[in-house]
Symmetry: C2
Subunit: 244 residues, 2 copies
């Protein structure tokens, strides 16, 4: 069933209206009077609705029932990914949203090829947030992960360190495994911080370690910068029962 | 360090020659006399070598030491993926190889958009095998996963059922979780079979179930056809300690 996200104040009693991009998307889907859709308020509430009237500009819906969205993981997992070339970051934003990431933060790192000034960062963030919104709707999420653009590596590390479990996968770490870092204690908030194409510098690894992040391995194979965060996210979600 | 794959018979005592595509790749990397490289025979042996001489057509190496490749997972995990549109299958072949898949099998399914006749299947397989070889080299694998093209859904199911643990993630299954399906027993061979964009048909699910595959859920979010196999593979490898 098609899923749409609206702002919480769009729900008025048992009536709802889709407009703007939602109406355009409804047109693509050729929604007609009597069709069923799910509307999510992005705060964990799903509304099962029936189309009562539709025009290219707006679609009117009647709410049949309301239920808490069952699609959110029991762990809030934040994915911190260094700026990467081309569409790799977009790929990770789409996939991490599908898998169930709580939020996605992009950050600069010393070996990043991509550099963003404030203006282009704001523009990119807007585009990335749209990708997350679309992936959230398609995968039936109960909320849209926020996409953040961190001003510096240090800011990213400090924020990531605020989670109960803060993971820092690094290809030159061989002692601490992801399994041991995750352990059996069920953290409610987890962060995963991964590097750019060229990897983290020694100074960055040290800084992360000092901030309390768990520098760990993802195994003996070298994963690309777009593969590592999704592999670690899948493992964390699996361990937390979020794939059950 | 750059890694090259050669056939086992290319190793003659303590000398080795790179030619053909390997020599072309060495040229791109600008390898020179004295540089260090790793050469893998694709059977789990890594040779640490030094370049003794190089020309555009061939690179001569001296073997300094031989060691078993430590990069292969303790579980042989086969990824069966239904034919998908455009570059999705190529994406999964690359990523599954990086992550540590044992082999990747493509198969037709009733809702597949892509259809392949025998001639184009052979051509595609050749291209897919090259993608696996390149990803294996880049990620430092000890062997190149074989890419198979199965003639039918039934053949794929029968072959997948031959593994100790045969998983069949399906979005309409809600009872059996991936965690429970994997359990605590460490299977040495695992297969993961996932569907095309439109999902499996009821008949296909029934056929898989009858053949002994474990129809299981990957959680309440709907994963795209290229996300599901990599998510399940990451989880299986994590549970088997292959990410340690």
């Amino acid at each position: 069933m098609p899923k749409f996200f609206v702002s919480p104040d769009a729900v008025r009693g048992s009536f709802l209206t889709l407009d703007g991009e939602n109406a355009a998307h409804a047109k693509v889907l050729r929604l007609r009077r009597g069709d069923s859709v799910v509307v999510c308020d992005g705060c964990g509430n799903d509304y099962r609705c029936t189309v009562s009237d539709s025009s290219p500009q707006q679609v009117c819906l009647v709410v049949n029932s309301t239920e808490p969205s069952g699609a959110e993981p029991p762990v809030a997992c934040s994915v911190y990914m260094a700026y990467a070339k081309a569409d790799k970051l977009e790929h990770v934003i789409q996939k991490a949203t599908e898998l169930g990431a709580y939020e996605i933060a992009a950050f600069p790192s010393s070996r990043c090829v991509l550099r963003l000034d404030a203006a282009s960062a704001a523009k990119k963030r807007e585009r990335w947030q749209k990708i997350a919104a679309s992936a959230a709707a398609q995968s039936g999420r109960g909320r849209i992960p926020q996409v953040l653009v961190m001003p510096s590596f240090e800011d990213a590390v400090q924020r990531a360190a605020g989670c109960e479990l803060a993971l820092f996968p690094y290809e030159n770490e061989h002692a601490l495994s992801l399994r041991r870092a995750i352990g059996s204690a069920q953290a409610k908030t987890v962060s995963i911080m991964t590097g750019p194409e060229g990897g983290f510098s020694d100074e960055e690894v040290e800084l992360a370690q000092r901030a309390g992040l768990q520098v760990c391995t993802l195994g003996p194979r070298i994963l690309r910068c777009e593969t590592a965060p999704l592999c670690a996210l899948s493992a964390v979600l699996f361990a937390a029962g979020a794939l059950d």
